[in-house]
Each structure stands twice: as C-alpha cells, then as structure tokens.
C-alpha cells in the first residue's frame, strides 16, 4: 500500500471559438439567429458608448463613482445571452453590458450613480438582484436563489458575476461550497479581468487557474476566452444546460481585461504600464465580433455607424430624462422610507424632527462641508 495516488478531478477545458482575428471555429460555432446577433452587437456598442458618456458625466460631477465595463462586453453578454429571461441574474457592480441586455434603463443607472436609491428600484419580478458592492457577497445570494428555484421545483438557473479578486473572499468559498453540497443550479461566472484594482491576478492567488478552484467544491471548472462572445456563450450554455438539467453548478473563468480605470476613483498609471494594456487592444471583443458579423454578412460596413448614432441618441435622451428625474427628487425625506415595513413610532418622530429641520434649511448641497 505505502504511497498511492488518489484520483482527483483535474480537467479544465479552455474554450475559444472566435479567435483574436475574428476567425470562427466552425465546428463549435453556435447557431444564433441573425436578429439576435445584431441585438447583441448593438448592446455591446451601447455599453461602450454609455461607458464613455458616464465617464464624462462623472468628470463633470453630475454622477458619482462607477465601474466601467469597457473591454468586458463579450464576457458579460455571451454569458447572459446563454440564460433565459426568467433565469436569475445576480450581479456585482461592473455588469453594465449584461444589465443593458436584461433591460436596464440608462436613466436608472445614472440616477443610482448620482446617489438616488430610486435608480435601483426592483420589485422582485425582474429575477435579478441589485448592485452588490461588498466583494463576492452576492455569490452567496446566487447560491441561495438557485437553491430556492430547486426547492420550488422550477427549472430556473441563476448566474452570478464576480471578478478575479473576488475569489479570495471567504464568501466566494462558502457560496461555492454550498452550491456543491446542495447541487444548486448556479453558474459562477468569474470575469478574470486580470486586476483587482491594483493587484494583478498572479498575486491574488497561487492557483494556476481560477477555474480549477471549482474542483475544491466538486464542480466542473471551465476556462474561456472572455473576449470571444461565441466562446463565452458556448461555455455558459453548457453550464446553464447542466444546471437546468439538475446536474448542479459550474464555475466559468472568462479571461478578459479591464481596459479602463477600476472605477472613476482610480488612477491605473500608479500601478500598471500602458504596455500591459496594449496587447489587449488587439483583442477587443467588439472589433472581433464585428469582423465575424461582417464576414457572415449579418452586418455591412455602414451598419456600425448607424448603430453607433442610434445608441448615442438613445443615451442622450436618457441623460435628459435622468436629469429631470433627479431634479424631482430634491427632498431628502425619502431617506426615512423603507427602513421597516411599518414605521415605528420613534422613527416617525425622527422623521418629523428632520423634515422640520430640512424645511427650514436648504442643507443638502455640499456647501456646508
């Protein structure tokens, strides 16, 4: 007997369907209707454009901090497109592209970024959770949501998004472990964008891949080229189908890159060289997808400009709607709303005290700092 080898799982497939130059692997090419292909493309372009617009609004002080999606459009869109509308979408804070696909209104995003909870109004009917800022905390919710679907006996799958850095948190570990134990229909979609603010992937963990962490929880792990929308779709579809069939969770590591700042509060020149970013420009997920669509005659040369104009227009209108709405929301009394389902007397008394004060003073500007 002395020393023998124990068999443990070690397979991690790496998937790429559209290569860096937009060539497609025809065997694996998914059959996506043309209208969907165009919608997907439009969503990517809108996401990119809106990121640019938000950045300006932020620099002008009209909204607060946000985390751009730039560079990660394919990772988000290929995966969310592999889910159904009634599947659950459990986001972190960088999923603009996926949110747009799910129907997020641009003005609501801005309202939230400008500091109004009203932008995050949800009824529970949307099958999605609000932005989750504490890193990896939402992965536990995703396991719980998926678990509930299983208990209720419906076939909805839950997909949750998180970053490379998020894999270091205990919450990730516990969410994955519960998912493994209860075989919940969860897809753990890690956007490995190589950075957690200033900390590169290599210093986040000594694990060779992030995908292999799945094995610690008895679930399969997959790596995919995260800038290849078709590859991401394929990998996610596999995981979604598996979950829907009752075979449990999967973790996907989508390898991509954070092309921009971490958030608008961040200055990447402090910790990374422009040189590090350069090679990733060649791998731009939108360009790559466009090449494919042109090749496939789903788009023609002029379409891109039209789409860009259209989405720019949509965004411009939404910015106006946002500003009107923000104006209407002047009164800070609403901070008392929704604290409890019935306002306790003590809080009602405070509401009075504070609104009385606010009525007498204009105090919600910055000027009293």
């Amino acid at each position: 007997m002395p020393i023998e080898q124990v068999d443990t799982p070690s397979e991690i497939p790496y998937i790429q369907i559209l290569d860096q130059d937009g060539n497609v692997d025809e065997e694996l090419e998914p059959q996506i209707p043309s209208s969907d292909l165009v919608d997907l493309y439009r969503t990517m372009v809108k996401s990119r454009k809106f990121d640019e617009r938000r950045m300006k609004l932020q620099r002008q002080g009209r909204i607060g901090t946000f985390a751009p999606s730039h560079g990660q459009e394919a990772a988000q869109l290929g995966s969310i497109y592999a889910t159904r509308d009634d599947d659950w979408f459990v986001q972190s804070y960088r999923e603009l592209t996926a949110n747009l696909w799910r129907g997020l209104e641009v003005e609501d995003d801005l309202l939230y970024a400008a500091g109004y909870e009203h932008g995050m109004e949800l009824t529970g009917e949307e099958n999605q959770t609000p932005i989750a800022i504490p890193i990896a905390s939402q992965t536990c919710h995703a396991t719980g949501i998926a678990w509930a679907s299983k208990l209720k006996g419906n076939d909805r799958v839950t997909i949750t998004y998180f970053g490379d850095g998020s894999t270091s948190e205990g919450d990730f570990h516990e969410a994955m472990n519960f998912a493994g134990v209860f075989e919940t229909p969860t897809v753990f979609l890690c956007q490995n964008n190589q950075w957690a603010i200033s900390v590169p992937r290599e210093r986040q963990t000594a694990s060779d891949t992030l995908a292999q962490k799945a094995h610690a929880y008895g679930m399969p792990g997959i790596q995919v080229d995260g800038n290849d929308i078709l590859g991401v779709y394929h990998a996610t579809k596999r995981a979604v189908d598996r979950a829907r069939a009752g075979d449990g969770p999967t973790m996907i590591e989508a390898i991509t890159y954070r092309m921009n700042v971490h958030t608008t509060a961040d200055d990447p020149t402090k910790y990374r060289d422009e040189e590090d970013v350069e090679p990733w420009r060649e791998r731009d997920p939108i360009d790559r997808f466009r090449t494919y669509l042109l090749e496939k005659d789903v788009l023609d040369e002029g379409d891109h400009d039209t789409i860009e104009e259209e989405v720019t227009e949509e965004i411009a209108e939404a910015v106006e709607t946002f500003e009107d709405k923000a104006e209407e929301l002047g009164d800070p009394e609403d901070m008392f709303d929704f604290a409890y389902s019935d306002e306790p007397p003590y809080l009602a008394q405070q509401r009075e005290e504070f609104t009385d004060y606010w009525d007498r003073h204009d105090v919600w500007g910055d000027h009293h700092g």
């Binding site: 905390s137 536990c140 995703a142 719980g144 509930a148 919450d171 929704f338 389902s341």
Partner: protein, 348 residues
C-alpha cells in the same frame, strides 16, 4: 396537552387554545413545527439542526417530519448560512437560520449588515428578505468562551433589523411565529439560560396572525408607583424575582416593563411610565458601555428628565470581556444586584 388558557400578556392571544407545559426550547421547537406546517416557504437551516435536532434541541424531530429540504443541515459556514438565506428569501422562501451561538454570528456580520438589513431599502421597498435568524445568546449555562456573550447592541445599532429577545416559553412561541411571518429581517436572540429554566403552557395549535403580538411595543407587566424597572430576556426573569422580594421586604411598588423587541425600541412606553414614577432602573446582561440601557437612559434624558426624581440607573455587567464560566455568575447582574439598584434609585 395540559390545559386551555388565555395568555394575553405574553402573546396577545384573545382566543382560547389547547396548550401543554413547555420549556422555552420546547416552545421554539413547537413554533417551528407549526410554522413549517402552515407555510411551505418556511425552512430551517443551520449547523446540526437536522438529524441532531439542534445542539439545544430547538429543532428536535423536525427533519423527520419535514424532510431534509426543509430542515437543512448546512456546511459549517455562517456566511454561507446567512448569505444563502438572503438568496433563498429573495427567491420566495422564508428561511429561519439558526446560528449555533451568537458568538459565531460575527462570521456572518457583513451579510447581516450589508445585505439583510439593507435589501428592502436598497430596492426601494421592492425586495423584502423575510429571514429570521435565531441565535442562542447570553451567559448562564457554563459554556465555553464565545458562548456566553450578550451583544444585542451590534444588531440594535444596525438600522433595518428587528431585534427580539423573549422572556418565557409563551412569549418565545408567540414572537418566533410573529417574526417568521414578518416581512422584515429579524434577529431573534434566545436567552439560553432560560431554555430549560421553567415551563409554561404553550399553544399546541397554530393561530392566525392577528392572534400574534405586534413586534415593537413594550409590555407593561406590572404597574407600580415608586419606580419603573425595565428588562428583557433572562434579566427580566431575575428582575421579577428582585421586584417581588422588594415588594415584600421594603414595600416598594414597581412598574415592570418588558422589551420583547429591543429594536425598534419602544421608548414611549418607558417614558410614559417614568413620567409617572419619576424613577427608572434598566437591567441588562450586557456590559455597560453602549448597552441598550444607555440608549434608554439617553431617551429619558431627552423626553422626561424634568420628571426624574433620581438618575436612571443602569444595572449591567462590567465593561470587560465576558469571562469564562467560573465567573459568569459574578459577571451577570443577579437578584441582589438588581435589588440594590432599585433600592438605591428609590432611596435617592
């Protein structure tokens, strides 16, 4: 089954129900059983709540009746328990997670503070997370380090949470059921020193929600003239003994107020009473600095200082780390200490 009673005081019941004599921990188990039977969205989850029946037996026999999907032994991971409970609640369930001891709730602190307490607010009232977290808490059962703390302050100071601490088997039954049916997240702290301390008739049958107490209001248990004494949970048990002895020995007549809900805090009832008696003693098991007694004292300062004939007295544990079991009885307020506090206040 041992009788039929009406129990307006502890439970708000106006209808007569079949009862049997139960300890607090049996009352918890009974309440679980009834709520599981009543609403199939309810589920129990936690470490050892299944086949073991809970390390205190608060879930004894339930997995046998309701199966492993509804009474769930989870992995050993508090963040996972609370985090998935939040998710389960988002997707329509009503999870009742047990954390084995309140001293291990800190592993899940961020899920409680950052999500459970905020989800409704964050989504503008759209998404409730009706989770009731049960935690045995407090000293008095000769347990290990981390097993005897009273840290309700952490939860009271977290806006968005309701914090319930029951005093008796009846009250536990009633408030646990009300908590499970509440749309708000509840931290349900069970004074484990009372788990098997005494029995009371507890309903063996389910009742309608309107028969369950409102979560929030304080309960005036006795009306007196000389002093208002406020307590809850384990300390209420000791306080009533102290008050009874003082009535007998010194003819002191005390109003006794129970706070089954320490958050939101019903200070109106306390303030009203203090306006009459002019004196107030608050008894808590927690150490002094920033225990709930401090808040009550401060609210009386706000609202009724002119009515005071003596300073509000805080009878509490000292401001040190909860000691191991050899000192736990010295640490907690005991009957003589409570009596001294009341006498000092009355004689001020």
């Amino acid at each position: 089954m041992c009788g039929v009673i009406t129990m307006a005081k502890a439970t708000q019941l106006t209808q007569d129900v079949e009862t049997s004599e139960m300890t607090m921990v049996e009352a918890i188990c009974e309440a679980h059983d009834q709520e599981l039977a009543r609403d199939d969205r309810v589920m129990i989850m936690g470490e050892d709540v299944g086949w073991d029946g809970g390390i205190f037996r608060a879930t004894d026999g339930l997995v046998e009746t309701y199966g492993e999907d509804r009474v769930v032994d989870t992995p050993l991971a508090e963040t996972g328990i609370i985090g998935t409970a939040v998710g389960l609640a988002i997707n329509g369930m009503r999870p009742v997670p047990e954390l084995q001891f309140s001293g291990f709730s800190y592993q899940a602190f961020h899920q409680i503070e950052s999500h459970l307490a905020r989800f409704r607010k964050r989504t503008q009232g759209g998404m409730n997370v009706p989770v009731t977290i049960r935690m045995p808490y407090g000293a008095g059962v000769r347990a290990l380090e981390h097993h005897s703390e009273s840290r309700e302050t952490y939860w009271i100071h977290t806006p968005g949470l309701t914090v319930v601490i029951p005093r008796s088997p009846q009250q536990t039954w009633a408030y646990l059921k009300a908590s499970i049916r509440s749309e708000d997240p509840v931290v349900f702290l069970e004074p484990k020193a009372l788990y098997r301390k005494f029995r009371e008739p507890v309903p063996e049958e389910d009742v309608d929600t309107d028969q369950l107490p409102d979560i929030g209001p304080a309960q005036v248990l006795e009306e007196g003239e000389d002093v208002t004494v406020v307590a809850f949970g384990h300390m209420l048990y000791r306080t009533r003994q102290a008050v009874a002895e003082l009535e007998e020995e010194h003819d002191i007549s005390a109003t006794v107020i129970d706070l089954p809900t320490v958050s939101p805090l019903d200070s109106e009832t306390i303030v009203d009473s203090v306006e009459d008696t002019g004196r107030c003693v608050v008894v808590q098991e927690a150490h002094r600095t920033l225990g709930i007694a401090s808040e009550i004292s401060a609210r009386i300062m706000d609202e009724a200082v002119l009515h005071l004939e003596a300073p509000v007295k805080r009878v509490t544990a000292p401001d040190v780390q909860t000691p191991l079991l050899a000192r736990e009885q010295a640490y907690m307020p005991d009957v003589p200490r409570i009596k001294e506090g009341i006498v000092e206040t009355v004689d001020f």
